[in-house]
């Protein structure tokens, strides 16, 4: 899976939770979950659970705490996918 494919899948995950459709439309990896995409804090957990499910990876608690924006999430997804394939 290349970076664009990861971003596309990631955007699909965000779609049901992002309450600012325009921010999703103009998505950049710097998009902040709460400030830009307006994802409710309760739904952030869903985003991370969906990431585990969709990408079939495990994200440990320490890594979860470091995810602040889309760039962080994509970096972790990429790293976990690489670890899985090696």
């Amino acid at each position: 899976m290349n970076k664009d494919q990861i971003i596309d899948k990631f955007k699909e995950i965000l779609e049901p939770y992002a309450q600012n459709p325009q921010a999703l439309e103009n998505f950049s990896i710097e998009s902040d979950f709460i400030k830009d995409l307006e994802i409710n804090s309760t739904n952030l957990v869903d985003v991370f659970l969906d990431i585990e499910e969709v990408f079939d990876i495990e994200i440990e608690n320490a890594a979860l705490e470091q995810i602040q924006n889309s760039a962080d999430a994509i970096a972790i997804i990429t790293r976990k996918l690489e670890e899985k394939n090696n």
Partner: protein, 263 residues
Amino acid sequence: MINDFSNKNYWAIILGGSSGLGLASALKLARHGINICIVHRDFKSEMGIIQKNFEEFDKYNIKFISFNADVSNPQKRSIIISGLKENIGQGKIRCLIHSISKGNLKPMVGAKGELQNEDFIITLQHMAFNLYDWVKDIVNNNLFAKDARVISFTSEGNKKAFKNYGAVSTAKAALEAITRNIALEFAPLGIRANCIQAGITDTKSLRMIPGNEIMKAQAVERNPFQKLTTPEDVANVVYLLCRDEASWINGAIIPVDGGESFC
């Protein structure tokens, strides 16, 4: 009285059954011969402990299945019900337990992160409205036993106000109202729906509430038995409600708290 449900081919679905009241209830019903289907939503890093808890079910002569999925998602619900149908054979669902704890614990007034309209909607979706969706889908799939139980869990937050508990409190009031209406409108289909109002119980969900240490200390102080409610105390009453003899209890809110709520 052990195994009193074996040979009946009964099933229980526990929404939110990987810990707390849901897990304790599932274990109690399993001990008495009811097959168990648990729906939960947890991170993979937590699955080690959860799988270990689920291994307990192997001790009993029952069937056990579990799904790690969002109970409020209609597509997932449909997948779970199909999966259940494959396992259930001629069996029927004796009991649907709603033990979902997922909501916002934000203050109404605070420096930042105040409770918003959408926080209510999300909390109620997970902690109240989805009970109706599950009952409806199970009925539509003709999976309930002729005499079946719907059990939901409420708390003293249904009538009392606690700081940060606004959305959950609203959800509990709604859950009670939905349970009561299920008790009324599904009675012709053999369903008895009741709410258990547990006393303060030291579960993962309680520990999420800011100030829970004080809540626990106060509960011990005022409880006639000077102790907290345990998940097993609640599970025991879930079992009682599942027995044939409980069939005339319908639409009730039953305190299971050692008397805590009247003190």
